[in-house]
Amino acid sequence: MTPGQAFWAGLKIGAPFVLVVAPFGAVFGVVATEAGLDIVQTLVFSIAVIAGAAQLTAVELMVQDAPTLIVLLTALAVNLRMAMYSASLAPHLGAAPVWQRALMSYLMVDQAYAIGVQQFEQHPDMPVGAKVGYFFGAVILLCPTWYLATLAGALLGTAIPPSLPVGFAVPIAFLALIGPMLRTLAHMVAAFVSVVGALIFAFVPYNLGLMIAAILAMGAGALVELWLIRRGRWS
């Protein structure tokens, strides 16, 4: 497979995900402008970060007037999974030139990772150039869609009259992200500990209660996973 052929193959797999990325980008645009960001800030946010859940987390904590350091740490915690993606793709893409690896890192969204790793594990013998082509093909439509959908959402958000309460749309957008992630008992236990911990530690200042709850929840998820492995119930 030449890099060109691989690019088109990736494009074909990635294209349908435009339909997933566009509405979510629009939701971020609406939420961010409702929270008080202007259109330029909202668009630059999406171009700089390209990670919906982390962007929504940051906006939500800014609305709660959390200290800036806490906003950054909590939103970056949501993005920690990106380091896992990076580690998992390194054996496949590590031999590419550094500028290509940097560009792929910038474009590493959930869907691009999922499409890429699935292909590379099935065809580990693809030349590295073809793997790079496949990755770029998969993501080439998704990121511009993310920017444009954010812009559309921001324009819509500034047009919604402030009297209309869209506040509870934020929890709904987040919960919609969480539902499909609850694939195993370990993920469900982690989510449960996170909720209970956040409510118990709500009194801790600087929104640090959420960090405490998140650390406990990660530990709980990992422990349940180990327990399931020991019982032979982990796939």
Binding site: V20, P23, V27, Q41, F45, A48, V49, I50, A54, M62, D65, V71, L72, T74, L76, V78, N79, L80, R81, M82, A83, S86, A87, L89, A90, G94, V98, S105, Y106, F168, A169, V170, P171, I172, F174, L175, A176, L177, I178, G179, P180, M181, L182, H187, A190, A191, V193, S194, V195, G197, A198, L199, A202, L210, A213, A214, A217, M218, G221, A222
Partner: protein, 111 residues
């Protein structure tokens, strides 16, 4: 966002942009082919489900100012969103279900 100045907003955007890039570039760019230890991968797997539910929990489960009980309409809309997400594995379907449920419940009980 009463106390957030324009400078703070740009600081968050820049910090989150740079930080996210470094997380994505970490192994691919700097560390190379070395694998993360198993315990680290096991903890990282749970970061989104460990952070996001807790972030939303106070808005869903704690009473609003001036009331003693959580809002049943919000609780119901939240439950429907999660249930549809778990069942359909589809983020957009879950969002649509949650927003529709919220609109219908508000229309039924608050008008």
């Amino acid at each position: 966002m009463s106390q957030q100045s324009q400078g703070t907003i740009w600081l968050v955007i820049a910090g989150l942009g740079i930080g996210s890039f470094l997380l994505r570039f970490s192994f691919l760019g700097l560390i190379g082919k070395r694998q993360l230890p198993g315990w680290a991968l096991r903890l990282l797997r749970y970061t989104p489900v460990a952070v996001i539910p807790g972030l939303m929990a106070p808005q869903i489960f704690l009473p609003a100012d001036g009331s003693t009980l959580p809002d049943p309409i919000k609780l119901a809309a939240a439950a429907i969103t999660v249930a549809v997400g778990v069942w359909s594995r589809n983020v957009i379907a879950a969002m649509a279900a949650g927003v529709s449920a919220l609109a219908v419940l508000i229309w039924l009980f608050q008008s």
